[in-house]
């Protein structure tokens, strides 16, 4: 029964790493429960819960080699123990003391986390999250009766930046929901201890704001879908679940992409009215600019990146119809929605306005609510259209021509500021065989999941584009070649672990990557060429690897 000692050490190390990985979550639970205890007016049962959590850290910390963790937790445990069955001291001293001790505990957890193998750029981010709990991690509760598929899914979701807690029963989920809710719940319908949809219905009834939820199931019948909709589920996915689709829905439901406020230009010769409309729109969270002289419209539009123009019809110097025509003659403003606002009730005149390039005709006086909803719906659709024009429809990344254009600009800017940049070119290995063997739909899913991974793991400031069919171009801003290589190699490893869904089976894919690190004055086409050659070399060397070249 006894295994070789080196094997034991290996296993112990693995357990230890797993323990470290889950420490932030444990810390988060204690902190959340402590906050809960304060809100719950010192409820005896909640006090015991916090006490038990601290106790469990005392027992496990030093066993896994973190004595300071055990020590901090022990002090918390002792302080709480003395408080059991006592009235809450009303001078705030206990609150301060526990807060201090939790800070100590947090430090011990951060210290322990540093022992995990380096994760290049992400490492700092992880520690940031620790430093300010609850801020940026998106927590998902995965409610699934089968342990093994649940773990598998959780691992994949973590690659896309979600923290996942698995619940094998509805009972354990209900317990957890007594504490601050997660950002989303993924629910299986057929749970060992009940019906998942009814549980969702209960949750949406019991929580004030509701928790975004999506259903993952083998049930294909309409009735189940209808029940899910009625229980407030935001999506309904069939098993085996496609990870790309799941992440898509989760991103959407958890509002992962913060919306940029709409930018509206308001034109009316009456100062009072322009200010009034602008005020209403600003209250709805939009950015506004005002203009009282239509002949000055070009100046007003400068550097504004306008989403929608709201204009009066009858103005001296140039009326609304003429203004629309002038704007429509310029490529930049050809697709910007123009909304007319006037006392004009005559249907014929309104139709004329629409004919000259206006998108909508609103009649004064208008209620604030009506104005906001008309502007919002027009601006939303216009943005969507613009997205479609600049972005690749399959992946949502910048399309070939846009990324090429942006590369020129950003490279020039980096050169001016002497910022190190690296250009990475990625190509999925043996993509043609993937298509041949598993079908084009499966191939598309592979492309989408790589795109997702890049979006999730790279920074907002990095330029990411779909350069060709299975080819991606990435400009890493303020990143040396060495750093870029570490980062891309981590992504390469993680991508090779992802499982993709074909009709009958799951399969894996890999990519090769060439990086050109900029070390001198260079133009975009030449740089792209060097990255391309590095990629070719990486392919030649056997694929599934990252090759760095100095440019």
């Amino acid at each position: 029964m006894a295994t070789r000692p080196e094997n034991f050490h290996e296993q112990l190390l693995a357990l230890r790493q797993e323990y470290i990985r889950r420490l932030p979550e444990k810390l988060g639970e204690i902190e959340a429960e402590w906050a809960d205890l304060l809100r719950a007016n010192w409820d005896a049962e909640k006090l015991r819960t916090v006490h038990r959590r601290a106790h469990s850290l005392v027992g496990s910390g030093a066993t896994f080699g973190f004595p300071s963790l055990s020590d901090s937790a022990r002090t918390i445990e002792q302080v709480l123990k003395e408080l059991t069955d006592q009235p809450r001291p009303d001078d705030g001293s206990i609150e301060n003391r526990i807060d201090e001790l939790l800070m100590e505990l947090r430090k011990a957890v951060i210290q322990a986390s540093r022992e995990l193998p380096a994760l290049s750029q992400e490492e700092d981010t992880d520690l940031d999250v620790l430093a300010t709990p609850t801020s940026r991690t998106r927590m998902v509760y995965l409610v699934e009766g089968d342990e093994i598929p649940a773990r598998d899914l959780a691992l994949q979701l973590r690659d896309f930046g979600y923290e996942v807690r698995i619940f094998n029963t509805l009972k354990s989920l209900r317990e957890a929901l007594k504490f601050p809710p997660p950002n989303a719940i993924i629910m299986d319908i057929l749970m060992p201890d009940g019906d998942g949809i009814s549980a969702l219905a209960d949750i949406s009834r019991d929580t004030a704001e509701g928790v975004p939820a999506l259903v993952v199931t083998v049930l294909t019948d309409f009735e189940a879908r209808l029940r899910a909709v009625r229980a407030g589920a935001g999506a309904y996915l069939l098993k085996p679940v496609d990870i790309g689709e799941l992440v898509d829905k989760l991103d959407h439901l958890t509002g992962n992409k913060p919306a940029d406020p709409f930018r509206v230009l308001v034109i009316d010769d009456s100062t009072v009215l322009t200010e009034y409309y602008a005020l209403i729109l600003r209250h709805a969270g939009m950015l506004t600019r005002t203009c009282q002289d239509p002949t000055q419209v070009m100046t007003a539009l400068e550097d504004f990146n306008v989403d929608l123009i709201l204009t009066d019809v009858y103005m001296p110097g140039c009326d609304g119809f003429e203004l629309a025509a002038v704007l429509r003659q310029q490529d930049t403003y050809r697709s910007v929605p123009i909304v007319f606002l006037s006392t004009e009730m005559d249907l014929d005149k309104q139709l004329t306005a629409l004919g000259t390039g206006a998108d909508e005709f609103l009649t004064k006086p208008i209620t604030p609510h009506h104005l906001i909803s008309a502007v919002t719906s027009r601006a939303t659709r216009a943005r969507l259209l613009r997205e479609l024009m600049l972005h690749d429809s399959l992946t949502g990344l910048l399309n070939h021509s846009t990324v090429k254009e942006r590369l020129v600009k950003e490279l020039a800017q980096a050169m001016r500021h002497h910022v190190p940049v690296s250009l990475a070119m990625i190509d999925i290995d043996h993509f043609k065989s993937i298509n041949d063997r598993y079908g084009h739909l499966a191939g598309d899913r592979v492309i989408k999941s790589l795109a997702r991974l890049l979006q999730q793991r790279l920074r907002q400031s990095d330029l990411i584009g779909r350069y060709g069919g299975e080819e991606f171009l990435i400009l890493l801003y303020d990143t040396t070649g060495q750093k870029a290589q570490t980062l891309m190699d981590k992504l390469r490893g993680d991508f090779s672990e992802l499982k993709h869904q074909a009709s009958e089976e799951l399969f894996r894919a890999t990519f090769s990557c060439g990086i050109a690190a900029v070390s001198r004055e260079i133009k975009a086409p030449a740089l792209t060429d060097i990255a391309d050659r590095a990629l070719y070399q990486a392919k030649h060397n056997g694929r599934n690897q990252v090759l760095l070249v100095n440019a």
Binding site: T3, L12, V58, S60, T63, E77
Partner: protein
């Protein structure tokens, strides 16, 4: 209780982290056969069939704690006099004595060191055998 070889250990512990590391330490280093139970209730169900030589019992568990589990185990014919060691974070001498009075042969302080846990258990078992 006659002195015999220690082979089968039942470990009762609610904490999954500790469960896995203890199982690894006792099986890999000690060469014991280990069965894990995650609660006192669970232990009462599984102990008769597993017929352990020794039971390691965590003191602080929700619902049914260590001492309560011990009392209940004593009422079962199969475990009426099976040796029991408590595992606990509290190690004051007076408390150790109290646990012994309840019928435990010894107390192992938590957190334990996975490298030496099996050895500690062996030593306690040997001392216990000498006394009987």
């Amino acid at each position: 209780m006659t002195s015999r070889a220690l082979k089968r250990i039942l470990y009762v512990e609610d904490e999954t982290d500790i469960q896995t590391v203890a199982k690894l330490a006792l099986e890999s280093v000690g060469g014991f056969e280990v069965e894990i139970c995650n609660s006192g209730t669970n232990a009462l169900k599984r102990a008769p069939a597993f017929a352990p030589d020794l039971i390691l019992l965590d003191v602080m568990m929700p619902d049914m704690d260590g001492p309560a589990t011990l009392t209940a185990l004593r009422a079962l014919p199969g475990t009426a006099d099976t040796a029991v060691i408590f595992m606990t974070a509290k190690v004051q001498n007076s408390e150790v004595e109290n646990y012994k009075k309840l019928g435990a042969i010894d107390v192992i302080p938590k957190p334990f060191d996975p490298m030496t846990l099996a050895q500690t258990v062996r030593e306690i078992w040997a001392r216990h055998g000498d006394k009987t």
